[in-house]
Amino acid sequence: MVEITQPLPTEIARFLTARARWSLIEIAFWIIAFASIYFLPENYLILTEIVIWALFALSIDLILGFAGVITLGQAAFFGVGAYAAGLMAKHGIIVEPVLALIAAGLVASLLGFLTSFLVLRGSDLTRLMVTLGIALVLHEIANRFANITGGADGLQGVNMAPVLGIFRFDLWGQTAYVYSLIVLFVLFAIARRVVRSPFGLSLLAIKGNPLRAAAIGIGVNWRLVAIYTIAAFYAGIAGALLTQTTAFASLEGFSFNRSADGLLILIIGGTGYLYGGIVGALIFKYMQDWLANITPQYWQFWVGLVLVLIVLIGRERISGWFNPVRRFTERIGNWRPGKASTLGMSPGDGGQP
């Protein structure tokens, strides 16, 4: 129970600040992430891939984990971001990578904004179909307009300018990794701010029960439009990062497999607490690396098996296995020198419905 010792607005303000506070465990997480720049120099390529997958899964988490919208077409925005960044660099429209990244994200979010009105109609099944359909239409468009996109061969001849005009993309992928990691961190911090805000709370209410949320005065539709647009922006940035770090964009960006893998990554890591995408991407990528070494051709089989098992065992039960770990991390995370938490709710479980 929350003890009300002060006027309600102050209590609410304190509750929201407590929710938004960075816990020690999160700070440690990011310190380790940045330390990897120094300690894992030979792993830059795979780490960059992990960061991009994490960002992509984060975008799915925003709509699935916080607003409860199932999507099979997040690759649409990934692909648009990838081609937007590629075309801008190739034709010299916006040369500086950071600006191009933001521009590509904006292009993707414009598409997200426009298609959000289609997605918000109907039931889960209709949403699945429409998101899937949009991704397929874009895939088809990119495939047919080969004179612009390069078609099945992919977009070639992309030359990336140095980041901020100073840091060149080097052969070992150091610039690429540091750049991607910083982008991930900045976007993560923004996403964290968004979902811990009153807006984020109202999204959770919509996820719980849209009808009741509407009944207590939450404007359901425009909130869903907003979060869908934001998620599209994130997916677009992820796609643009892939293009910028590999100097290549391909139709694979639009593929159904990308949407499905993104969903799988998020499910492995867990939805609704933002770190799921990052944790999932780490596990997924290293698992892929390991399995691909054993059975190069059939690693998709194991992905399928993992998905089936996750569903059959039940996601709640699997996350239950980690309860002791979670309690431990929460205890560490809540600890602050000379200050006891007055609120029952810890910052760490803010995302759990």
Binding site: R121, I310, V311
Partner: protein, 286 residues
């Protein structure tokens, strides 16, 4: 022009046979089964093995495709799917995507990744002229088989005891159960038949749609389009939707090849926006 119409109808009929099982799964249990195409693929490969490797007649291959896919459908329904019916749509999507990935990799492992062709008998090759319109014999056979199947399915659904049980279960599961209908068994049988029909469709369609391990992924969207555009309330609605899609797809690919599959995706999105419950749905569909 008429040839396009003819090809489109043959294609649509094929889509209907492939997708009608899915219409029932989605309509009856409100279960999102993205792995429906896997059964079609399995049926196609069963026919391939029977005809090409064992040297049996084509008709036996078709029957074998139906039986094999139906058995596999019944088996997976009883062992795996039953656990997932009550879960959320998200979990159903994840589960069936997982099954698709497994089936794609397994078939790749067993049969190789190249495109396969079932040998069709000489009697079915070539064309015949009817009133100045050239029709391929194979497509004519598809129309005949699928036409008969549609009529039979419609009769079973509308006239037989099993059909009325199924319709009762579709309309209201709980009341149907209260009336003593074994909804689980009805659904199991329907699932098996639907998978069998998909298998038959896969075998018939190997000539037109192609047969390779990524079949379930490639055509998943087509099946879902048939079901969502048609709605899940009756068997005639998906049938109409299949024909419409078949003709639209063939005509689209013929007249505006630049756009390719773009036409039907656009049709689907437009239909879903205008009629989220399906084009031919009754007043209040589930």
């Amino acid at each position: 022009m008429l040839t396009i119409l003819f090809d489109g109808i043959a294609y649509g009929m094929l889509l209907f046979v492939l997708a009608c099982g899915l219409a029932v799964t989605l309509g009856l249990m409100n279960f999102v089964n993205l792995a429906h195409g896997s059964f079609a693929m399995v049926g196609g490969y069963a026919a391939l093995v029977i005809v090409n490797n064992l040297g049996m007649p084509f008709a036996v291959g078709l029957v074998g495709a139906f039986v094999f896919a139906a058995l596999l459908g019944a088996l997976t329904e009883r062992t795996l799917y039953v656990h997932v019916y009550s879960k959320s749509h998200l979990e159903q999507v994840l589960f069936t995507i997982g099954l698709v990935f497994i089936s794609v990799a397994a078939v790749d492992y067993l049969m190789g990744s190249q495109q396969q062709f079932i040998q069709i008998p000489a009697a079915l090759q070539g064309q015949i002229e009817v009133a100045g319109v050239g029709m391929s014999k194979y497509r004519l056979m598809i129309i005949a088989i699928c036409g008969v199947l549609t009529v039979v399915l419609q009769l079973i659904l509308m006239r037989s005891r099993f059909g009325s049980q199924l319709r009762a279960a579709v309309d209201d599961q709980r009341v149907a159960r209260g009336l003593g209908i074994n909804v689980g068994a009805v659904f199991g049988i329907t699932f098996a038949i639907g998978s069998g029909l998909a298998g038959l469709g896969g075998a018939l369609g190997a000539e037109i749609l192609g047969l390779d391990p990524v079949f379930p992924l490639k055509y998943m969207i087509y099946f879902l389009i048939v079901v969502t555009v048609g709605g899940t309330s009756s068997i005639t609605a998906p049938f109409m939707a299949s024909i419409l899609l078949g003709v639209a797809d063939v005509a689209g690919k013929y007249y505006v090849p630049k756009l390719g599959a773009f036409v039907i995706y656009t049709i689907m999105i437009v239909v879903l926006i205008l009629r989220p419950q399906g084009l031919f749905a009754r007043g209040r569909a589930r």
